[in-house]
Amino acid sequence: MARIVGIDLGTTNSLIAYMDGKVPTIIADAAGDRLVPSIVAYTPEGLQVGDTAKEQLTRHPERTVYSVKRFMGKGLSDVQDELQYFPYRLTEQAGVIQIHIGDKALTPPEISAMILKELKSRAERFFGEEIRKAVITVPAYFNDSQRQATKDAGKIAGLDVMRIVNEPTAAALAYGLQKRKQGLIAVYDLGGGTFDISILKLKGGIFEVLATNGNTHLGGDDFDRRLMEVMLEEIKTTHGAHIKKHPELAQEVRVRAEQAKCRLSSEKEVSVEVPLPEDGGTYRRVFSRKEFEAMVTDLIERTLSPTRKALVDAGLSAADVDEVVLVGGSTRMPLVRQKVEALFGKPPHCELNPDEVVALGAAVQASILAGGIQDMLLLDVTPLTLGIETMGGVMSSLVRRNTTIPTSAKEMFTTFVDGQTSVDIHILQGERELAKDNRSLARFQLKIPPLPASVPRVEVTFMIDANGILSVTARDVRTGEAQSIEVKPSYGLSDQEVERMIHESYIFAQQDIKERQRIEAVNEAQSILRATDKALARAAEIQDLTTSEEQEAIRQSAAELTQSLTGHDHRKIRQAIEALNRASSPLAERLMNHSLQDALKDKKLSQMP
């Protein structure tokens, strides 16, 4: 079977890993960096992803997209409260957020696909072969739309997504593989934007998830914001600078706030400096860990209620849990560790790198799928109750939360009116009584042959696969024939849209390659032109080194090269570079010899006794 890689597509950072024999291993880039910042910038210099895009955060804030994971599978109204924090413009089209960068409008799956492509090409450089298959992780508490959006992102990036795995369970796989532990473990995963808690039973190579809970909108980003709010308020009152007028200032403050937060995990206090716009001087401030902790205690405490609920659903008390494993960068905060320890009554394990363990687990799951690891099996659950809207706007549940997946449920449908040819089914996900309080996943239109009322009997099967993704099929009970079902996702891309995006991303990539080749050629041309100028100037100082014909020929070639730079064809530039090289290389050689002789002469003189 072809190679399958494991990908942690994170809010803040993303990673890619593979199984090196029996050891899951992160793939680093040439410089040894293991994390790819989940940032995409589309600037006049072109598309940038990762570290180079991170540098654009303060330079081109309105063209640099970060934390895109928070928008996956969501509509604009879901993120209304935090719109003010994002410097890029967001709109909505048919239930899908559109992120505007320059004249482009891109959906979150398309932006995520750019990050996935960066990871993909990193792995391709490493293996020297094309990578087509991947396991991608998502927060356990992601709903169907968010999972589907992640799968779409993979498709757009040219990846066959073999499995969507929950992040805490992936972490448990990596942890279990390494420690060969048995018993009950709790994985507490607080990342950049999401919180998950999963309770698992580890026994004889089986990883059975007993319960999971979480909050897909709680993480390190929110801690940064608390610091940011304080800093921006102080900057406004003392320096009169307002972020509305200076989006780059907001980004500058956000970046400094994030750095300060990270340092406060190991230091008791940090001093923060922010250069202010329009030569407004510098904002200086010292934050102590105590002060910071007071700002975020309530956020951390918001993780405790889902944790207790997961324990109740698993039929356990905190004391039953043998080990607590911490995952996600935010669990480096001492206050998080204290709260977790207080809840479980035992110190949590934090010897695994909380940034890497999820990607490592994804590689383990990839190996299980590829038939490499055969003695481990993950049995995961669906995090949220799945149901349909019934009379009076009530949700009737079909699959309860924490049901082991894959699972299915059947429901019989009939008609109320003679000759009725379709039935609408509204699929919901959530724990509330009323349909309107739950997440709308999709509306299905079931086609029914025209018959007298309540004669048709159509059995609809709702199947949740091992990815936690729903599919629906229908069968006419009388004839046994399959009935067609038309799906309208409430917050997602249609199959046609995904197809279009795959195509566009391919064209985009082609343009991208051409653009990159052009930029490289231009850079090379400019350095050659500079060298040529220098050579001509130097040659003029030395007697009899060059003829005026030769100089003229070189100048002519240089002018042609300069001219070629205005075009878009990198091959023309390359040809002009070649021509200039041919014209100037004899002179360059003579210059080289001349300086060599000079050097030798100097040496001999200086070395005379």
């Binding site: 059975e208 997946i405 699972t407």
Partner: protein
């Protein structure tokens, strides 16, 4: 004891792939392809158990893990579409079977569905001897809600009374569960005797009826206790 031929829990007796006799095994002995479980299979049969109510949950788990290793889609990634579809459907059935039989209450509800055609969720029924106290609780819950809405005083007294009444309900629930455990034993003995005479059939029906009644009362108490818990939060 007579040796009975293993019950066929499969959809068909011939392998869908090579047409050879599969003799009730999950995998064809000739071509090793996974075989689909029957659509009408009941959960006891799916897990290789008799229709009894006392189940060794440790053994149940072992069986579940063993069958998960046989059917889970993780092990069918490179296989044909048909094998993957069988793996998905079998896993879904297995997971539902395990979660249903794992919990004693869901187990008996399921048995009632199989044996007595009960609804999926047995509607709650108030235990008659608690009728008065249940009425009181209902009243107090309403009062508490009104007080909360108007931010009025005097809720402490109601809260105290609800706490005490909660104890009464919990005690009753405990008693119901103990009685249910006795009926589990009774049912299992009747299954073991496995005769087909009319007397035993009537006896079985009696036990089922009693169990149904207890489950129904317990469901009622559960809802009420959940309401109290919510009000006291």
């Amino acid at each position: 004891m007579a040796i009975v031929k293993k019950e066929l829990p499969l959809a068909r007796s011939m392998c869908w792939h090579c047409q050879s006799d599969i003799g009730g095994e999950y995998f064809c002995q000739q071509c090793v392809k996974v075989q689909p479980l029957s659509k009408d299979i009941d959960y006891f049969t799916a897990l290789g158990l008799p229709r009894k109510l006392n189940i060794d949950t440790g053994m149940l788990e072992t069986k579940f893990y063993e069958m998960s290793r046989a059917f889970h889609p993780d092990f069918y990634e490179g296989k044909s579409d048909m094998e993957r579809a069988v793996s998905l459907a079998n896993s879904a059935t297995l997971n539902q079977a395990y979660s249903t039989l794992k919990s004693p209450i869901e187990r008996v509800e399921y048995l009632l569905r199989l044996e007595a055609g009960s609804a999926k969720e047995i509607p709650g029924k108030a235990p008659t001897e608690l009728f008065e106290i249940l009425l009181e609780i209902q009243e107090q819950l309403e009062q508490l809600q009104t007080l909360k809405a108007q931010k009025g005083t005097g809720s402490e007294e109601i809260v105290g009374r609800l706490r005490a009444e909660r104890g009464t309900l919990e005690a009753k629930r405990g008693a119901l569960e103990r009685r249910l455990a006795e009926l589990f034993q009774l049912w299992d003995r009747l299954v073991d005797r496995s005769s087909s005479d009319q007397g035993q059939k009537t006896e079985k029906e009696q036990v089922l009826k009693q169990m149904r009644d207890i489950v129904s009362q317990r469901n009622y108490l559960n809802t009420m206790l959940a309401n109290i818990a919510e009000a006291l939060e």
